[in-house]
């Protein structure tokens, strides 16, 4: 609780500080900017006005859903205009009968994720954007299924509990049901003790384990709401590496290379960026600071200093608030960039 209060206070202080320092020159800019509370789907990222340099890596889930852009043109809360889904085709198709051994042999295949996203413009006259993304996890130290020590410990836990259950099964005979077997206070207490001990050792925060990922996404836009005449207008490649610091911190390094069609010239223009981010906290709540430099073809470099707060609202629901200062050399101004986002992982 102390750590929670401290982190929240730090975040508020950083917000107030940045806001007062740049108050005279800041032009409020409401820009959607997906952040990293749960693994970011490449396709979702692709539909943002500011694609991220760091695409936060994360352990594979069979399916995850993202919603964003809850404000309409008048800043009223509305139905989200951005929707994304990311899924592992391997887990979705073969998960039910997938053995541990099979997963371990082809972990890369089951960690491969596809994302699809759609975003509507602010009004009926603006384009509908669609994006497709692919994410490959190069290494993932947070995946317990490829951790031999974890698997040995988990199997031992299962064997101990099974031994307790077997004593009851033998006493009750062939017709015993699971509820009859488990309806025993001694068994319940012993099982809980074993589980608590296991959880204390293995299921503590694993949010900051070493990990690296490569992702690719492309975007297409249509001028009508039925998404006819889709035209490809952006391609992006990301690489991200994460390095854990004890149980409280994580350093992320990321870069991306992108090419996007410029409406005025109808030609593609290349850009690239490099960023580093430092997280402090736990899996359930954390703050971060990041620095980013980006360079676009035929223009000067832009710099971005950002901060954020991520909070696990419920088991599958994450809330995220970010605020940062962007030095935009194109318009020669500093912009305050804020965002609020909810993400849901099934």
């Amino acid at each position: 609780m102390k750590r929670s209060s401290m982190l929240f206070s730090l975040f508020l202080i950083s917000l107030l500080f940045s806001h007062s320092l740049f108050a005279q020159e800041v032009q409020f800019a409401k820009e959607l900017k997906t952040k990293y509370a749960v693994p970011d789907a490449p396709a979702f990222n692709m539909l943002n006005q500011n694609a991220l340099t760091i695409l936060k890596p994360g352990s594979v889930k069979d399916i995850a859903l993202g919603l964003a852009n809850f404000l309409d043109v008048d800043n009223r809360i509305t139905l989200p205009r951005s929707l994304a889904v990311e899924f592992s085709p391997g887990l979705l198709m073969y998960g039910k009968t997938l053995t541990l051994d099979e997963y371990r042999k082809r972990a890369g295949l089951y960690r491969l994720r596809i994302s699809l996203a759609t975003a509507k413009g602010d009004s009926s006259s603006t384009a509908t954007n669609l994006a497709f993304g692919l994410r490959v996890t190069l290494n993932d130290d947070s995946d317990p299924r490829t951790n031999k020590e974890y698997l040995t410990a988990a199997t031992k836990l299962a064997e101990k509990i099974q031994t307790l259950v077997d004593v009851r099964r033998k006493a009750l005979g062939a017709s015993a049901t699971i509820s009859e077997i488990e309806n025993d206070q001694k068994l319940i207490a012993e099982k809980k003790e074993l589980e608590d001990s296991f959880n204390a050792e293995w299921l503590e925060d694993k949010w900051n384990k070493n990990m690296s990922e490569l992702a690719f996404a492309f975007r297409a836009a249509s001028k009508d709401s039925l998404t006819k005449n889709l035209k490809l207008n952006k391609f992006t490649l990301w690489y991200t590496s994460a390095y854990g610091l004890d149980d409280w911190g994580q350093f992320l390094f990321g870069l991306n290379i992108s090419t996007e069609k410029v409406p005025a010239t109808n030609k593609f223009r290349a850009s690239g960026s490099i960023a580093s981010r430092f997280y402090m906290g736990t899996n359930d709540y954390k703050i971060y600071m990041e620095l980013e430099a980006s360079l676009m073809e035929e223009s000067k470099a832009d710099y971005f200093v950002n901060s954020g707060f991520e909070l696990k609202v419920q088991d599958h629901l994450w809330a995220e608030f970010t605020a940062g200062i962007k030095q935009d050399n194109l318009i020669n101004q500093s912009l305050l960039v804020t965002d609020f986002k909810l993400k849901y992982g099934l």
Binding site: V60, T155, A158, E159, Q162
Partner: protein, 124 residues
């Protein structure tokens, strides 16, 4: 309970225990006598490797008539996957003669389930 019919004159009966959803776990298989009070055969295993999860039931085949295959399985639910799936497959002469399974989703650390099948000899 699933009734699994087998042939007295066929080959030995095999029972395979399958743990799905890539969850670690262990199991114990009891083959209960027909009266349900005594264990005729017992074997234990885990899901670290599927190579040793197929078990040959005692011979002669007719001794298994009326016996109950009772498999207790404990999974350690390993995030981020919260689903579990367990299957019991009975084969004779490489043919599946019976299959029992259960599946679900849980937020618990572990879950224990039972899969049962009663063996019945066919008239020949």
């Amino acid at each position: 309970m699933e009734i699994v019919k087998f042939k007295k004159s066929g080959g030995p009966l095999y029972v395979e225990v399958i743990g799905g959803e890539a969850q670690p776990g262990s199991y114990s298989l009891f083959l209960w006598e027909a009266d349900g009070n005594k264990i005729a055969f017992e074997v234990h295993g885990n899901f670290l490797s599927p190579d040793d999860d197929t078990h040959k039931l005692p011979l002669p085949n007719e001794a298994n008539n009326g016996r109950t295959i009772d498999v207790g399985i404990t999974f350690v639910i390993t995030p981020p996957i919260k689903n579990y799936y367990a299957e019991l497959k009975i084969t004779q002469d490489d043919k599946i003669i019976g299959k029992v399974f259960t599946e679900g989703t849980t937020d618990k650390t572990t879950i224990t389930i039972l899969l049962k099948a009663k063996l019945s000899m066919e008239d020949e």
